[in-house]
């Protein structure tokens, strides 16, 4: 009975709406679909979405792993509070994050005026999108790397040290390789989230077509014009590219797990 209910609920809530999307995009026909997909504004929006999400996920690899490292390996007062605050982007509604980040990085904002002094512009440019996506993606990276790092065997490090490896060599050759599968998982999750992110981005992006317009926003714009065909086509391309990227990452992950043994 539980299974029947689960299946019925899934079918109604997930499968029917999603198959609607698949059906509507296939009903377009391939010629129509490609003419919509190759619209320069669409192509640029996809480029912005995937490009900024990739950069943000890469930034999160550096700072997410560092944060996980500090939280697992070091003891300092307030560690639990710092640990709890990592999840803030999960809990804070994206629209709130969006207006807060925009206020900070606006030309007259707390950091915006400082950054402008350095000749940089963050708000209303793709740089702002990257900042919002770093915020959104950070917990994915920390929370996938943290448990793996916590369970890692310290004896391997001791062995490496006793065999004469310097601390940097141990980190680069022993610790990081074992973390690679977890880092890739975090990267994939942050990337997937970043590509689809809407609420935190639209305020800070400025939404200038061909400059800082993201694909989810273009879907919304097309919907508001009642251009359901174009909206469906953009959504379908986003899903196809996302699935392809996740597939590649899964393959790399399987490879690195085979190679290094340990994994997330």
């Amino acid at each position: 009975m539980a299974l029947g209910f689960t299946l019925a609920y899934l079918v109604v809530i997930v499968l029917v709406p999603l198959s609607g999307l698949a059906w509507r995009s296939s009903a377009l026909g391939s010629a129509k679909f490609w003419s919509l997909a190759s619209d320069p504004r669409t192509v640029h929006a996809l480029y912005v979405s995937f490009g900024t999400a990739l950069i943000a996920a890469a930034i999160n690899v550096v700072f997410g792993v560092l944060a996980a490292w500090v939280l697992v390996r070091y003891r300092f007062p307030g560690r639990r509070i710092v640990d709890a605050i990592i999840d803030l982007p999960f809990a804070l509604p994206t629209a709130v994050a969006g207006i807060a980040l925009t206020t900070i990085y606006a030309p007259n904002g707390w950091l915006g005026s400082f950054v402008q002094g350095l000749g940089l512009k963050v708000a209303y440019t793709p740089v702002g999108i990257v900042i919002a996506l770093v915020f959104v993606g950070l917990p994915f990276m920390v929370r996938t790397v943290q448990p793996v790092l916590a369970e890692q065997d310290r004896e391997l490090e001791e062995a490496a040290a006793l065999l004469g490896a310097s601390r940097l060599q141990t980190i680069a050759r022993v610790i990081l390789p074992a973390l690679t599968p977890a880092i890739l998982t975090g990267f994939a999750l942050a990337l997937a989230r970043g590509v689809g992110e809407y609420g935190s981005v639209i305020f800070i992006a400025g939404n200038i077509p061909y400059v800082s317009e993201i694909a989810p926003l273009l879907i919304v714009i097309r919907l508001e014009e009642y251009n359901y065909a174009a909206a469906t086509a953009i959504a379908a391309i986003m899903l196809i590219i996302s699935f392809a990227m996740l597939l590649v990452i899964n393959l790399i992950q399987a490879w690195s797990r085979r190679r290094y043994g340990l994994g997330a």
Binding site: A2, L3, F5, T6, Y9, L10, I13, V16, P17, G20, L21, R24, F63, V70, R73, Y74, R80, D83, A84, I85, I86, D87, L88, F90, A91, L92, P93, T94, A95, V96, I99, A100, I104, W110, L111, F135, P139, F140, R143, P147, E158, A160, A161, L162, R167, T170, A192, V195, G196, Y198, G199, V220, L223, Y228, A231, T232, A235, M238, L239, L246
Partner: protein
């Protein structure tokens, strides 16, 4: 002799200990960079929300929250969460029960389906309901003939919210129930308890803290969802605006203090969620599956 052995151990141990931790300088730099990064990216946005909310003083703050459209948005958000969270709670328990306690074909596929809303853009989540119920769809004319309004009305908002939040409870409970296995239930059944009795007196108490944890995250997302709801809501003031949408509208009409006043309520909700979540993790970590943490 013993002394000599001690001495030789400590000469071995000392370099090993030094070599498996970083120098004080490296530690300091690592912690400094991390704190600076977290401060700028996490703490600063949170601080800005509250500072801006009270920028025009405390009376203006409460006046902004009492404004009729804003009050309606707060009521709508509470209503939507009150429908979506219990629905997904029942679904989450049923789904994880089915997945953890029974063996059947296609289990992996079922889990993938449950995770799906996490990997789909919220805008696309909203779009699929527009395609399903909108004017050009198969269902659209039927709904119109019978005067049923789903899109740009509360039912659409509830549906979109249910869609984006339904993995939370199930994701939390599946690993937990798989860990616990079926021995407790088998014992209860063999002692003569009925299926429902077993569920209420054995299974549910076993998973209560994990369930609470899932509900907490589900609720936070249900109240804060923006993208999916924005697509299906139609932004009718006082009628189909939830709190996050009201934040957007106020912000776009340059009423920053009011926008941040509403945002501060949502930020407060996020903080309460984080505190409760941390308390649950500290007190009942073994009863909340460690593998299901976070997302």
């Amino acid at each position: 002799m013993a002394l000599a052995l001690d001495a030789s151990i400590s000469t071995f141990a000392a370099p090993a200990a030094r070599a498996t931790s970083e120098s004080r300088l490296a530690r300091g730099v690592a912690m400094g960079v991390t704190f600076l990064f977290l401060g700028v990216f996490l703490v600063l946005p949170l601080a800005v929300v509250f500072v801006e909310a009270f920028a025009k003083g405390v009376p203006a703050y409460f006046a902004a929250l009492r404004e009729p459209d804003t009050a309606a948005a707060i009521r709508l958000t509470l209503t939507v969460a009150a429908i979506a969270v219990p629905l997904n709670c029942v679904f989450g328990v049923a789904a994880s029960w089915a997945i953890a306690k029974f063996e059947f074909k296609g289990k992996a596929f079922l889990i993938t389906l449950i995770d799906l809303p996490f990997s789909v853009s919220p805008v696309i989540s909203g779009l699929i309901y527009v395609l399903l119920f909108g004017a050009g769809s198969a269902l659209g004319p039927f709904l119109e003939r019978h005067g049923i309004q789903i899109l740009f009305a509360v039912p659409g908002i509830v549906l979109a919210t249910v869609f984006v939040t339904f993995p939370f409870v199930a994701r939390e409970l599946i690993p937990l129930m798989q860990d616990q296995g079926t021995t407790d239930e088998e014992a209860a059944l063999s002692l003569g308890a009925s299926g429902w009795q077993t569920f209420w007196h054995v299974t549910l108490p076993n998973i209560r803290w994990g369930l609470l944890y899932g509900v907490l995250l589900c609720n936070a997302r249900a109240m804060g969802e923006f993208g999916a709801v924005s697509v299906v809501s139609g932004h009718i003031r006082g009628l189909t605006n939830t709190m996050p949408l009201q934040v957007e509208i106020l912000y776009n009409q340059y009423d920053f203090a009011a926008a941040f006043a509403v945002a501060s309520l949502l930020a407060l909700l996020a903080l309460v969620t984080l505190v409760l979540k941390t308390l649950l993790e500290l007190s009942y970590s073994s009863e909340i599956s460690a593998t299901g943490r976070g997302h």
